[in-house]
Amino acid sequence: MSHTAENKKVLIVEDERPMREALCNKFKQEHFNVFEAKNGEEGLKVALQEHPDMILLDIIMPVMDGMAMLEKLRLDFWGKTANVIMLTNIDNKSNITEAMQKGVLQFLVKSDWKIEEVLHIVQEKLK
């Protein structure tokens, strides 16, 4: 399945509407195929359905949080090797360790990164 960078699928799982929209707009601008979800449950469904090339995953979310979704995702055959980048504002140690153990590519604290930088990181990882 070789897509050009512009047609890569990215899934944004984020409960904060403004942030979700900002990310979606940014990635759409760069001609990504953008999918969104506002909680872990939705995110899992969309992920398993669409098999995105990259998942940007928040942690603190209602219904099902990011860690729970990640765990469930890894149980899936495709989900086992899905590309995930945590994009969150919570940065306590146990979350980071747990996330790294579950094979996320990177753990980004939103307030530490410019939105452009987030974009670049995703583009790098998809090369």
Partner: protein
């Protein structure tokens, strides 16, 4: 009679007997000698009488002066002998006989004289014959006398001998009696001694009411009496002692009970071990917290019955080594091994989170065991966890709107929502800058909260100090280039591989470096220098110097520079940004790591920060 008296008596008897025997022997010897002399004398008298008779008859046949002379000589000799032997015959019978012998001799002398005269002067036949007959009769009498004397003498000797025999027999009987008596006495003494010995052993075994049944009035009897008295006294002494001991024991029991009550009432769990690490005692706290009763634990080794476990329920081996060190006295006291959670397994199988302390029990200078105290820290850990989670959550809540503002401002500035006029860009930049400050403040507050709560752990890992510092310098590149700061660094050569917590070290370096860059005017200089010196054992001391040619710290504010939220006046004026938390954070971290931080500064000349950090050397 006492033994000594008996002995004395026996000695006297024996002495007497021997004396008597000696006396009798001497007497006998004397008697025998005397008797022998008497017999000799008698014999001589006998012989001489015959000789005189012979001479007498010869004279009758041939009278001569010579014969007369010989008769007279012989008579003289006999007279002399009789004179000499007079003292031998002392008994009346003997004496009488002896007298008679002497008398006869006298008579014979007279008769012979008359005979000689007669013969010399005419020779009256009838007279001569009479005289001759009388002389012959005398001779016969004399011979008979001599024989009687001899016999008397030998009879005396026989008497003496018999006397001696008698004395010897009596003596022998006496000695035998004494020997038998001695033998009997010694036997009885030995028997009494055996009894005494048996009695002494019985008493030694503890039977104080034993009584020796020896009633004799002698020394043995006295000894037995003294022995019995001693036994009685011992018995009363011991029973008195037993009473005292019982009293004292009750007192001690009461004291012990009190001490135990205090010990057992300690709310924390307490377990006392002997030198082999076996459980001697557990308190109520132990029983309540873990569900095991004391009886189930006694005698077992603590490390077997109740080992410290990690979260996975696996035994933590270091904790056992630590207990061994305490018991051996190589460690005075032990606290938790850092970054380890300790659990005990309760009787119902669940794990209990505890904090654990062990110390040796000293009796004088000797270690007699160890006492371990533990506390249920489940609540505490939960509270800690809640605090940490709260801080994280709070910072998350604060950051979320901040990142929203950041990103939208970025997107506006990037022109995603349309081209901006310059003024609009300008204003948006201010908003962005202000927002960045907020983000920095929130991050700093989060660090401070974590440091102050102590809910962060130092996690040493192999670190390359040089690389770390250089990467932090690199992070500052944008600012460095913007402000055209000249940057240099020097690192002392070393072949050591060291362990330290890199994330904490980063926080320190990042803060100090960004300060140095931030507070130095355009074209200034920032220098970094790292040197090492040996501490003790496998510890190394790193000295890090970060100096700048910046604004410096005013003298009157130097003492406040490490306080929370403090920013010196001179940098406030210079329109720089800062949270006032950076140095506070740095100080907290350094102090927690066992290092030191200080500085030298002159306003408008520059500042140099010095910090020391102990590092663990892994290998050379």
């Amino acid at each position: 009679m006492t033994i000594s008296k008996k002995l004395g008596f026996s000695s006297i008897v024996i002495t007497l007997a021997v004396a008597i025997f000696l006396g009798a022997s001497v007497f006998l010897v004397y008697q025998l000698q005397a008797s022998q002399e008497k017999q000799q004398l008698s014999q001589k008298i006998n012989d001489m009488s015959f000789q005189m008779a012979l001479l007498q008859s010869e004279y009758l046949a041939h009278p001569s002066e010579q014969l007369k002379g010989q008769w007279m000589d012989t008579k003289e000799v006999q007279t002399r002998i009789l004179d000499q032997g007079k003292h031998l015959f002392v008994l009346p019978e003997e004496k009488a006989l002896f007298e008679k012998t002497s008398a006869v001799l006298q008579d014979s002398t007279v008769l012979f004289g008359e005979l000689v005269y007669n013969i010399d002067n005419g020779w009256d036949q009838a007279m001569v014959k009479e005289l001759n007959d009388r002389l012959t009769a005398n001779t016969q009498t004399q011979v008979s006398n001599a024989l009687n004397l001899a016999e008397l003498g030998s009879r005396e000797a026989a008497d003496a001998l018999r006397t001696l025999e008698f004395v010897i027999v009596v003596l022998a009987i006496i000695i035998l009696a004494i020997l038998i008596g001695s033998y009997v006495m010694v036997r009885s003494i030995i028997k009494s001694l055996n009894l005494l010995g048996k009695g002494a052993r019985t008493i030694a075994e503890g039977n104080l009411s034993y009584n020796l049944n020896i009633k004799s009035k002698d020394e043995i009897g006295q000894l037995a009496e003294a022995f019995n008295t001693m036994a009685v006294k011992l018995e009363s002494f011991y029973s008195g002692l037993e009473e005292k001991i019982a009293e004292r024991t009750i007192e001690l029991e009461a004291e012990k009970a009190k001490a135990e009550a205090i010990l057992l009432s300690i709310a924390d769990g307490l377990v006392a071990l002997d030198l082999q690490g076996r459980i001697m005692l557990v308190n109520k706290g132990f029983e309540n917290m873990l569900g095991w009763k004391e009886e189930e634990m006694l005698g077992k080794k603590l490390v077997d019955a109740m080992p410290l476990l990690n979260e996975a329920g696996k035994v933590i081996p270091e904790s056992q080594k630590v207990l061994t060190k305490v018991l051996l006295g190589t460690t005075a006291m032990v606290k938790d091994i850092p970054n380890t959670q300790y659990f005990y397994k309760k009787k119902d199988g669940s794990l209990l989170l505890v904090t654990f302390n062990a110390a040796p029990i000293m009796l004088g200078k000797k270690i007699i065991g160890a006492v371990a105290v533990f506390r249920d820290v489940t609540k505490e850990k939960e509270i800690d966890k809640a605090k940490t989670e709260f801080v994280s959550l709070a910072s998350h809540q604060l950051r979320t709107p901040l990142s929203t503002i950041n990103w939208y401002t970025e997107m506006l500035l990037a022109g995603d929502a349309g081209k901006l006029k310059d003024k609009q860009k300008e204003y948006l930049s201010e908003i962005y800058t202000g927002n960045q400050r907020m983000v920095e403040l929130v991050d700093a507050l989060l660090s401070v909260s974590r440091l102050e709560l102590g809910t962060f752990m130092v996690e040493p890992e192999q670190t390359n100090i040089t690389e770390l510092i250089e990467s932090e310098i690199n992070e500052q590149k944008p600012q460095i280039e913007k402000r055209q700061i000249k940057v240099s660094s020097s690192f002392q050569e070393n072949n050591f591989t060291v362990k330290t917590d890199p994330k904490l070290l980063r926080m320190i370096i990042q803060n100090l470096l960004s300060n140095a860059v931030k507070y130095t005017p355009i074209g200034g200089e920032v220098k970094t220098e790292v040197t090492f010196s040996k501490l003790r054992g496998n510890m190394l001391d790193a000295l890090i110097k970060i100096s700048d040619t910046g604004y410096g710290i005013p003298d009157n504010q130097k003492d406040k520079i490490f306080s929370k939220l403090f920013r010196a006046d001179n940098v406030r004026e210079k329109d720089t940004e800062g949270t006032g938390l950076g140095l506070y954070i740095v100080r907290l971290i350094i102090e927690h790591s066992g290092g030191k931080i200080w500085f030298e500064s002159q306003e408008n000349k520059g500042t140099t920060f010095y910090l020391t950090l102990p590092l663990e050397v892994v290998s050379k």
